[in-house]
Structures are given as structure tokens and as C-alpha cells.
Symmetry: C2
Subunit: 212 residues, 2 copies
DNA sequence: CAACAGTTCAACAAATCACTTGAATAGTTG
DNA sequence: CAACTATTCAAGTGATTTGTTGAACTGTTG
């Protein structure tokens, strides 16, 4: 014991976990599964990739145990193996945002300009929820809302927001949230709401951060 | 904004961080730097790799900002960019040990049989340190001890333990610790000590876990 | 400023990876 | 049990990664 070959093999084992997340497509899969379980073709659709390719990536995640599967009817649902995997993904994101030079640029290119967006912190939201003077709006796709949401939140997926604006109560502060800090849904929702005269802000991050 | 290409680029950015850890050699480097800063050829020596090759890996870690460098005289010392990188490495290890099938076997192959080794928890050690009836032994290489150690610990690198046994006080419980749960130094030290009649146990993990 | 130790670069072959295409499989529903 | 659907497998291609080697830097010291 204690020999080089065994040590290399052990650390290769650790590295396998990191490498499973070491691909943008697989990172997106994990990011998606943090919200809720999904079938292969739903995942492929979200990624804009072929089902075959998505399946391959899922197999890789499965091989290192980061995800698990469940069959329901004739589709197979993938979900994260544990809360700890979500934590790993969160830490990866944090390290990237702290240390990767270009990440701010990449994020800005994807998210657009957030400087004119009101942002509400989690603490502030908790406060106002206690006071009861705020409407919380979950703008993620419905399955993700069903899998878990902020207590009392109203579900209007961002794609349907324009046509369901009349369901949003007037006269109260609105706080929209979505998947996390790198998700554009709440941004889009806030912009739409403000255009229509609603006092809207986005939660600083998303549901996973709220729940954990 | 919000388009596919920008999203892919952003997630590729996150994935870069994971992929930097996605190689056994680089994982060993990070594992080593958690303890203390090191020069390139010290790292190469620890890894059993060529200096040129080690330097390449270091460049990759540097590119994503996981490590930083400092020059002193005519050598360059690498260290982790932040405590958060150490946290990332810890979470990777935890996820691997929870979810990777073969990890127990790999660990057993490297660490050998631990079933006959007394293990002391951190809480227990804290307790006994307060009581003052324990000798704490840091068996890591000296530079790592210098970079930080459990208060009051005695430094005897495992390689020198046999020849410095007389420096270990008799008649008290001894607790040896090293780099972490996947480090063999403390195991070896405990076995050596017990062979010579010392009542010795190893700390459940290592200095980084104690410090954080 | 020359010699030197330490570090990095450049170029290579072998291995691995991402994605595509098309076929095979397993489980479900009529 | 036959038709169907969702998923996986297998083979192929081009691009990337790995570890070597040897040469080229870089900053320090005598």
C-alpha cells in the first residue's frame, strides 16, 4: 500500500467526478437537473442537442454516479444522485466566478445588461414575506415549479407571462425568481412586468439557493 | 442575449474549472497545495512526474485561476488561489466517495487495511486537547507543518519517525495526523508507534479539515 | 555580465473525446 | 402479440488531451 500506482488510480477516481462536470453540455444537464428530474428527450430539447448525444452524456454522468434514473411508463427520468451533487455544482460555479478571468464577460454576453434590474436579496424577501406585502412569482417551466417552489409563489412560466399578465395582482411589489443567478427567465419576466407598469424585481439567485 | 451560443460559452466556462480538476495528476497537485505552497520541482517530485510535464499541468490550473504563483529567489512557488478552491476539492472528494462505485476499492488498495487502526474524531481530539492529556503529532513534511498546524502539535515527518522516536513523549495518548483522510502518513506513523509500544491513534482526517 | 538553476515552450505520437448517423433494444399500449 | 415509443448502442470522424523529449527562456547569484 501507499505505492504510486495505487495513489494514481485513487486520484484518477476523484478526477473522474470532476471530469464528468468538465464539459459544457454535461454542466448544463446538471444545472437543469438541480431544478427537477427530466426525461432524456426533455433534456435534449433544453440543450438543443440530439437525443443520442444527450444519452451519451447522461451515461457518463451515470457512470460516476452523479445522476440516477427512474422509469415511468415508457420514459426514463434522470435526476441528481443527491443534494451533494447540487452542492458540487454550486461550488464549481462559485470558483469559476471568482477565479476565471473571462467569466464575467461570458456571463454578461449571456445575461445581458442587469444594471437596470432591481435585485432583491434572499434576506429581504424573507423579511417581506413575513410582512406579507409582496407577490412572489415563479417563472420557471411548470414541472420545475411542481418539484418545489417558494411557499406561496405563483407559477407563471416566462413563456406564458405576456398572455397571463392579468393573473398578476396589481398594487404590490412583485419578486420573480427562476433557476439561479445564471438564469435569464426572471430577468426577462422583470423586464416584461416593468414594461407593463408593475413594480417588479428579481430575486438575487434562484429556487435551489432559497431551498438549501 | 439568452441565445444558445452564449449559454454554451458560459457553461463551457464553468466546465473549464471542473475539467482542470479532471485529471489525476492535477488532482494530486491541488491536494498537495491544500497543505502548503510548493515549487515546481517539489511538486514534480511528489508526483513522480517530469518537471516539464508538471509545469504543463500547473499552467492549466493557472489558466483557470485555481492556483497562483510567487517568486522567491530563483524559484517559483505555486499555491491555491483561495480557500474556496480547497473547498471545491473537498466537495469533489466527498461526492466521489459517496457516489463512485469503485472508490472504496481504490481507497482500500492505496490505504491498506485500516480496520485495526484507532481513529480519533476531531471533536474527541478537541475535548482531549482541553483536558491536556494527549500528544498531537504532525507527521507531514516540515514545510507543510510550517505553513500551519494544530496548535501545540509536535512535528516529526513520517520519514524521520523511526530515527526520532526518542522525541515522542511516553505515557500519554498520541494522536497523529497528516494531510487528510486519503493520506497514508498518519497510518504509517500510528503503525510504527504501536509497534514500539506507544498508545497511538490517527485523527479521522487531516489538518485542512481541522483548520476549516 | 556570465554561469546557473529553475521554469516554460514546442513538437510529437498515442489515447481519448464530442458529436453524427443509423441500427438495436427494452418496455408499453392497443 | 404486434406496433410503437423512448432510449441506448456501435461505428466513424475530426478535434483535443496526455505525457515525452529537448531546446529556449528567465531571473538570480557569484
Amino acid at each position: 500500500m501507499g505505492d504510486r500506482a495505487a495513489k494514481d488510480a485513487l486520484f484518477d477516481g476523484f478526477a473522474d467526478v470532476a471530469r464528468a462536470l468538465g464539459n459544457g453540455r454535461r454542466a448544463q444537464i446538471v444545472d437543469l437537473l438541480v431544478q427537477a428530474e427530466r426525461s432524456v428527450d426533455e433534456i435534449a430539447g433544453e440543450l438543443g442537442q440530439s437525443v443520442a448525444n444527450t444519452s451519451q452524456h447522461l451515461q457518463q454522468l451515470l457512470r460516476v454516479g452523479l445522476v440516477r434514473t427512474r422509469r415511468d411508463g415508457n420514459r426514463i427520468y434522470y435526476s441528481l444522485a443527491s443534494e451533494r451533487v447540487a452542492q458540487l455544482w454550486r461550488v464549481v460555479r462559485e470558483v469559476a466566478s471568482e477565479h476565471v478571468e473571462e467569466l464575467d464577460d461570458l456571463a454578461a454576453a449571456y445575461l445581458g445588461d442587469r444594471s437596470r434590474l432591481d435585485i432583491m436579496t434572499r434576506d429581504e424577501l424573507a423579511e417581506r414575506l413575513r410582512a406579507g406585502d409582496v407577490v412572489v412569482l415563479d417563472v420557471r417551466p411548470e414541472p420545475e415549479f411542481r418539484a418545489g417552489h417558494i411557499a406561496g409563489a405563483l407559477s407563471i412560466p416566462v413563456a406564458e407571462l405576456s398572455s397571463r399578465l392579468h393573473q398578476v395582482p396589481m398594487g404590490q411589489q412583485i419578486v420573480a425568481y427562476c433557476r439561479g443567478p445564471y438564469c435569464v427567465y426572471a430577468d426577462d419576466a422583470v423586464r416584461t412586468l416593468r414594461r407593463h407598469g408593475y413594480p417588479a424585481a428579481r430575486l438575487e439567485d434562484g429556487y435551489p439557493e432559497w431551498a438549501s
